[in-house]
Symmetry: C2
Subunit: 338 residues, 2 copies
């Protein structure tokens, strides 16, 4: 159905449209891509491509632009992998070099990704499923209010307020000791099991407080994955000032909603490789004229979280995909080592 030349033409239309931002016609095509056939032939092929739904005309007597389906075919079969430039490689190295803690890593990653792809970058905080609890602390702020702090082996620190109900300091100290003794070294899944039995082991007078604290711990351990997403490169949206209604506004609105972002990244990625959602393929309706390029990141056997970029369907997929892949891999290695 689609012979080689038609595919070549589709590829040419996509690349040309992406770089020129204008509908591309048969004449320009043969000139810029040395197709060795006449414009008329190209036109015949284009008619077929249009019939099949890969390209369309904004109006009669305009050139063609790719449809979502066209981009999809391009991404699946036609895109040649574009290696990163030296400058980009160096940028990745230097950007991450001085990172001190997890927050810093995430912050730097988002900046890096936004800078390389020149698009809006989204990075999810790593979910360290293999991380174990390293330390538990209950800090008394005042007789009524306390703070539960949880540190895991990757250096992530979570906090949660606890209602102490006026419990004496000894009770709190005892509780602290028991919690640490019981839970340190456990992975999240193990915590869930262990914690349930733990409450029963508390002395009677510490029972209510203990139950509250354990509940808080469970909440932190289980709710954690859905916590946080960081966004960067929003000013890059100004490059699409022509697509205000279809791109800029919806993206800004989506960025405000952590839940939406997680859905976007989560449903798109979830694997170790780069995934692309083009336009209407997107699970979130307002972004139907937007594409998401995402990837999981982490070690081979333990995917930790997702990251990606969002931009107009008319984007440079090969470069963007290469950048997302490279950053995901690098961050994965970086986290694994440190």
């Amino acid at each position: 159905m689609l012979d080689d030349r038609k595919l070549t033409i589709l590829r040419a239309i996509v690349t040309d449209y992406v770089s020129m931002r204008e509908p591309v016609g048969s004449r320009a095509l043969v000139e810029r891509y040395q197709l060795d056939v006449s414009p008329a032939t190209v036109r015949n092929d284009m008619a077929v491509l249009e019939e099949e739904g890969y390209i369309m005309q904004p109006h009669t007597s305009a050139g063609r632009i790719p449809t979502d389906k066209g981009y999809r075919l391009f991404v699946d079969r036609l895109g040649t992998v574009k290696p990163l430039s030296g400058a980009e490689r160096r940028a990745i190295e230097t950007f991450m070099a001085g990172a001190v803690d997890i927050d810093d890593v995430v912050r730097r990653t988002v900046r890096l990704l936004a800078q390389i792809t020149r698009q809006v970058a989204i990075v999810q905080y790593p979910i360290l499923s293999s991380a174990t609890i390293r330390h538990l602390e209950v800090v008394t702020l005042n007789p009524e209010r306390g703070l539960l702090i949880l540190v895991n082996s990757s250096g992530k620190v979570d906090q949660h307020p606890v209602d102490l109900g006026g419990a004496p300091e000894e009770t709190v100290a005892d509780l602290r000791g028991r919690l640490n003794a019981a839970l340190v070294g456990l992975a999240p899944s193990q915590v869930v099991e262990r914690a349930e039995r733990l409450v029963e082991e508390f002395p009677d007078d510490a029972r209510p407080l203990g139950a509250a604290v354990v509940a808080a711990i469970l909440e932190m351990v289980t709710a954690d994955p859905s916590t946080r997403v960081v966004v960067g490169g929003v000013p890059n949206l100004t490059r699409f000032s022509d697509q205000y209604e279809t791109t800029v506004r919806p993206v800004l609105e989506a960025l405000e909603e952590q839940v939406v972002l997680l859905r976007l990244l989560g449903e798109v990625a979830g694997t170790g490789d780069v995934t692309v959602r083009i336009g209407h393929e997107n699970p979130y309706a307002p972004l139907r004229s937007t594409s998401v390029v995402a990837s999981g990141y982490g070690t081979d056997d333990d995917i930790w979280a997702n990251l990606g970029v969002v931009g107009p369907t008319r984007m440079d997929y090969p470069s963007t995909m290469a950048a997302v892949r490279a950053v995901a891999r690098y961050v994965g290695r970086f986290l694994a080592e440190g």
Copy 2:
């Protein structure tokens, strides 16, 4: 120089332009504001106002629009305080009601402010100058790396990585004890004094590690004020799609830079009352066609941090100022109560 009627006219021009978004002419003015004089008289007054630099014409034979100077006069002398609507009052109450910790308070505040003012809101994390250190913890992640955690009396948790250099667990435990004994209960300023002597009290073998940890503590305590700013309501920028180059882009870029935001809030506010920077008065050049309405928040004797909104110079100052003031006060009270 400027008699009552001229001031009335200026006020009318500002309010009309803000609500209508169109240059306002003499005829419309007398009709909408019952000025009891003829358009010609108004024109004479407007000519004077223009000469004095309070208003200008986009082009001959258009109506007048206020200049920055005009807005300034309006804000200083002409703006009638616009009380919050019942709905807004209720919004403030309900928004903050279920806040659990500081992060949550800040997040809710930013949403609230963005929603009421329908502009981009910025909230700085509270600097609790009166807060004291409540607990210090050094958690060993692996023989080389540790994590210093600092909890203050307001429930704020800070963390900082520490290079343990393979120090044995007893040394770390000893250090932890000494740190807590020495520093708990101190305010930041006191920590600075005390910490310097503290290092000398360490046993020799803990000296290098101790010095590193103390350095980290000092860094956290002193660097803290400049830490974090949270932004919300960015989609509200889409309401100014006409001012892409002068408003939308610069604001997006500024929002990406925490430093800029802090400068903006800091230099603008710094007092307990609402401060307004109009257009060119702004310390940050790219926002010269933007206004910032900000306020410190906290208790009367202890200003904690700043919050505010940024929007086009053509904004509803009375409402915005009222909203910022109300939110600042409410959050201050909320934090003071615990």
